[in-house]
Amino acid sequence: METEIRVGDPLFGTGLVSVAFWQDGIDRLGPAFCSSLKGEFPSSGYVASSFESGYLYRISWDRLLVQSSSEDTLYQRVRAALPDDQAAVSDLSHARQVISLSGPDTPIVLSRCLPVDCRNSALPMGHFVQTYLQDAVVLLHRVSAQEYRMMVPTSFADAISARLQKII
């Protein structure tokens, strides 16, 4: 199949921080926080928004995932912007691995392992979904017409990569 797989895509970066706001704090504080990162607040749980060095995902009603290529400073930067009376902040920079898939057959490859509708109408460019691949939690982000990025738990990355290679 015409799909290329790259594990640990350096272009996508490895900095990752989970931000969980208290109660309705995400709506009160989220936009300002995203502005401080020079990004747009992702009001939808389906569309990723970008900021200067990465992406912002709203992964639940009270949580954001901040992904950036600046691993060393991201956690400190977010923590500085959000003191612990405003949000819980956890560094996940080593907890996830990014697997990039590109090529015209990528939707077919994905349909063999993920219960996700990759048609344009369901997952347009810029959209993301959260799902499972067996026991592994997966965030799938469509970054261009033929390119998808899977954020997977680091401990599952080797096995998922091998499974994708086998499908191809």
Partner: protein, 941 residues
């Protein structure tokens, strides 16, 4: 039986060779195995399930009860396939089933002589005595005699895949109604999947005569379909189940395996057609008896004339086209109709074609041996014997409403159709069209002849015959069995099914349900809707287990998790093992040692030196927020409010019902930040439990939990010299007792990498848990190794904790309490916590519960995990069981942790230990579970 020189949809230029029971035959591209067998004059294809009666081909589709065959050989053999649905392929090896030594001479056909003894429920009545346990003696014999095809032995060479598909409209069934639906939906812009069970589209239209209106309509629809890019056609694809939220299971046959499609759809159009059913009378199962629709299909689709002299026995109008077609093909045709009046137009058509029609007729018996030779019939003013070599039956039609039933939609009885029709399933996004909805018009959008396509209503016939007649051919359920079930009180339709096996098996009663219900209705003087219908459940047709498993088999059964230290383990020659979802270092191979030698050596190192073990698999959770201390105080049995920053505490969680959920260590790493560890096995369960509490019960608490298991590599540095090793890498003061007291927590740097160190012990020795970011794990590990740390693996880790008497997953199995494990003191009396009320309920505190004890073997025999314990003589499952066992280098004996009835009162006594799996019986002395350093001076020192 013969293949006609012309006609049919087979490709006569493509000849295919195949064998049946070793004899070579030929067929054509487009044949099914059944049509090819019939074309070659093979009428006997199988033996019945119970009586081993000779059976032929009864249908031309998925309702086939008789013609079950095995295809292929060796590990590729597939048993119990319906010859009527399998596409013939060149070189195919086909074998009959359920017969010995041959299909012609089957020894077990003698069962027929014992027929009176083999009625409904004979297993339950016959094999329960004369003494208790007698079944165990009968079982082997019965199991050898029972069953149909034999499964292959060995790994399946076929290729199976799973695919997730999505569509706007799923159309089930590729007949005229299904094609219409697919075309209409596609023209409206919908994304359509059209699934057809057969290997070509067309459904019943394929059975119609060439140039008929059905065939013309089919051709035009197929032409329309090819113009539509948004219709995906899947042939050889059965929709076997409808599930919640628009999810459907489809299995698509491939030449070298199958594909399981999990389809999610917005709307579904069910165009599954209808199944013709047979009529029960003596001899209705002889080879040469088949459904009228089947005879028509074999003639018009496959060019096979199933008999030179055909009798058609019917209750309805649907057979007249078949009669005409057979007559036009040269057969001598007689119609016996149970009704006293039929449509004059049909009567005239039959007259012109030279077909005799006998009205008010009733067949009392079919005669013949391995092939039908005639029927005896009677009616108003006549009693006749009709010679024939083919008997075609039509007892009416039942819509294939299985998929609608899967959604929980109750079928509705239609007096006019004499059949159950699908109920309203629009709330499930499902629409039923065509014959599946009771619309039997030949072409769905042609001008209606009448509402159903038939002029004269069906006359039910099944109840009329009172002699033994087969109702369910696959399971050899006769009219006598149904009468007997009723006489014994099994009148309810669900009881009837289970007592007689009516409607079970690969055909799931597609043929037999209605005749069976009709007979029960007659016996009990009730109507068929009062009798009701059993519930249809997935799968609609048998699905290969391989298709359900897909690619998740063998080493790919799970996605295995790897520790961030996995590359290190390869460098260190570790022997890996699977524990839960994780691949872990079992032991480190030193000069080809086996596991027993290795783990004992590693244990001795930990007890005397310093060694490293990878514990990255531990569950890890960030607990953060201003109310985190209050939250932890509620979920742990012991107090956490006063835990200072820089300290760790071991804690136990209970479920609401008072049983232990999990244990672990939680460290306070900041004013509002805690770092929780859980057991490897319960990591996911604990996280879900905490999330559930925060999102439902305690929404007012400002706390968030975030799983960080994969963020950290974790290693244990244990042994009396562990502090010396640590001091070499972080400095004497930083690793000193003042800076890192027992249960102390601090940050440090090892070889430039940030680490978090916890002074806790699982092994009973002085020990440090060292956490670092996952990618930094190998660097930190190598640095500690250079500083003198040796290695120990999972096996030694488990054995060390058994020596220490530390409970783990085996003891925390969801059925033990604090009291059972001797941990009552862990329950705070100063605060409420989850489980604090129900842990005191009588059932959890009364005498006789099983307590945690230690066992020391009195012999040289091991005490295997899972072994049963008895204080006196064994009775039932004994008085307890071994939960964890090992060899103790410290005691030089086999030891174990066990749960023993009133165990704490039995310290010092001897118990019998029985390991039935290994055939070991030995004795062990009961003692305190702490085999080593009960005061804890080693780990605190």
């Amino acid at each position: 039986m013969k293949r006609l020189a012309q006609s049919g949809l087979i490709d006569r230029t493509a000849s295919l060779r195949f064998s049946f029971d070793g004899c070579g035959y030929s067929g054509y591209q487009g044949d099914t195995v059944a049509s090819a067998l019939l074309a070659n004059g093979v009428s006997l294809v199988g033996r019945s399930f119970k009586y081993h009666r000779p059976r032929g081909i009864y249908t031309a589709g998925p309702a086939e009860p008789n013609a079950l065959v095995s295809i292929g050989n060796g590990v590729s053999r597939k048993p119990n396939l319906q010859a009527t649905t399998v596409m013939l392929q060149d070189g195919m090896i086909v074998e009959s089933q359920n017969c010995w030594p041959s299909l012609d001479m089957d020894v077990q056909s003698l069962n027929q002589l014992a027929g009176p003894l083999l009625g409904a429920g004979f297993y339950y009545k016959t094999f329960m005595g004369p003494v208790r346990g007698a079944w165990m003696a009968y079982e082997k014999l019965i199991r050898r005699a029972a069953g149909l095809g034999k499964p292959p032995i060995g790994p399946d060479p076929d290729r199976f895949e799973t695919v997730h598909d999505f569509c706007g409209v799923l159309v089930v069934g590729g007949g005229l109604a299904g094609l219409d639906a697919a075309i209409t939906a596609a023209e409206q812009g919908e994304n359509v999947i059209l699934a057809e069970q057969g290997f070509v589209l067309g459904g019943q239209a394929l059975a119609a005569q060439e140039n008929s209106i059905e065939r013309q309509s089919l051709a035009s629809r197929l032409a329309d379909l090819t113009k539509l890019a948004n219709v995906r056609v899947l042939t050889r694809c059965t929709v076997f189940g409808a599930y919640d939220h628009g999810v459907f299971g489809l299995v698509e046959e491939k030449d070298d395996g199958a594909v399981l499609h999990v389809v999610r759809t917005d709307r579904t159009i069910v165009a599954t057609g209808a199944s013709e059913h047979h009529i029960a009378f003596p001899g209705n199962d002889l080879p040469g008896v088949m459904l009228a629709s089947a005879a028509q299909a074999y003639l018009n689709r496959f060019g096979v004339l199933c008999g030179e002299t055909c009798v058609i026995y019917t209750t309805n109008d649907s057979v007249f086209d078949a009669a005409l077609n057979l007559a036009q093909a040269g057969a001598d045709v007689t119609v016996l109709d149970t009704r006293s009046v039929i449509d004059p137009a049909d009567e005239e058509r039959m007259l012109i074609a030279g077909v005799d029609v006998w009205l008010g007729a009733l067949i009392t018996k079919a005669t013949g041996g391995r092939k039908i030779s005639g029927v005896e019939a009677q009616g108003p003013g006549f009693r006749e014997t009709f010679q024939c070599d083919c008997l075609c039956l039509s007892g009416g039609w039942s819509p294939a409403l299985h998929l609608t039933s899967h959604t929980g939609t109750k079928p509705v009885w239609s007096e006019h159709h004499q059949a159950f029709l699908p109920g309203d399933c629009t709330r499930h996004g499902m629409t039923v069209v065509g014959a599946a909805a009771g619309d039997y018009r030949p072409v769905p959008d042609s001008s209606p002849v009448c509402e159903t396509g038939w002029q004269t209503p069906i006359k039910p016939v099944a109840p009329i015959i009172h002699r033994k007649a087969f109702v369910d051919l696959q399971n050899d359920v006769s009219s006598k069995d149904i009468r007997q079930a009723q006489a014994e009180g099994f009148e309810n339709v669900e009881h009837l099914k289970r007592y007689t096996t009516l409607g079970m098996g690969t055909d799931q009663g597609k043929l037999s349900n209605l005749p069976g219900l009709s007979l029960m209705a007659d016996i009990t003087h009730r109507s068929i809707p009062e009798i009701g219908l059993t519930t249809f459940r997935p799968p609609f047709t048998p699905v290969p287990l391989g298709a359900l498993a897909g690619e998740d088999t063998g080493p790919d059964f799970h996605l295995w998790r790897h520790s961030p230290l996995a590359p290190i383990h390869r460098e260190e020659s570790a022997v890996m093992t699977v524990s839960g979802l994780w691949e872990r270092a079992w032991y480190y191979n030193d000069n080809g040692e086996d596991v027993d030698t290795a783990y004992r050596r590693e244990m001795e190192i930990v007890r005397s030196d310093a060694a490293l073990c990878d514990v990255s698999t531990l569950g890890k959770i960030d607990v953060e927020g201003p109310d985190a201390a209050e939250f932890l105080n509620r979920i742990y049995t012991n107090g956490f409010k006063t835990l200072p920053v820089g300290k760790a505490r071991w804690g136990l969680m209970l479920r609401e019902d008072g049983y232990i959920l999990d244990d672990g260590t939680t460290s306070r790493v900041g004013e509002n930040s805690y770092f929780m560890t859980t057991t490897t096995a319960n990591a996911g369960r604990v996280l879900s439990y905490l999330e559930n509490l925060l999102q439902t019960d305690w929404t007012n608490l400002k706390v968030h939990v975030t799983p960080v298991t994969d963020q950290w590599a974790a290693m244990v540095l244990a042994g009396p010299k562990s502090r010396d090793v640590l001091q070499k890498v972080i400095g004497t003061d930083a690793a000193g007792d003042a800076a890192l007291p027992f249960l102390g927590v601090r940050d440090a740097v090892i070889d430039g990498k940030y680490v978090r160190i916890l002074r806790v012990s699982f092994s009973g020795e002085k020990s440090f848990e060292i956490y670092t970011k996952a990618n930094d794990g190998p660097t930190v590990w190598r640095c500690l190794r250079k500083a003198g740390a040796k290695l120990f693996g999972l096996e030694a880790l488990g054995a060390l904790r058994i020596e220490k008497g530390h409970v783990a997953g085996n003891e925390l199995d969801g059925r033990t309490t604090l009291g059972d494990l001797g941990l009552e003191k862990m329950a705070s009396t100063k605060k409420p916590f989850i489980g604090s009320v129900l842990m005191h309920r009588p059932g959890l505190s009364e005498p006789g519960r099983r307590h945690l004890v230690g066992l020391v073997s009195e012999t040289d025999l091991p005490l295997g995990t899972g072994s049963l314990l008895a204080v006196g003589s064994f009775e039932g499952i004994g008085d307890g069981r071994v939960t964890s066992a090992t060899w103790s280098p410290e005691l030089k004996r086999h030891i174990a942790l066990a749960l023993l009835k009133d165990g704490r009162a039995r310290h010092g006594s001897i118990v019998t230990v029985l390991n039935p799996a290994r055939g070991i019986v030995t004795k062990a002395r009961v003692r305190d579970p702490h085999f080593l350093d009960p005061e804890g001076s080693r780990m605190r020192g």
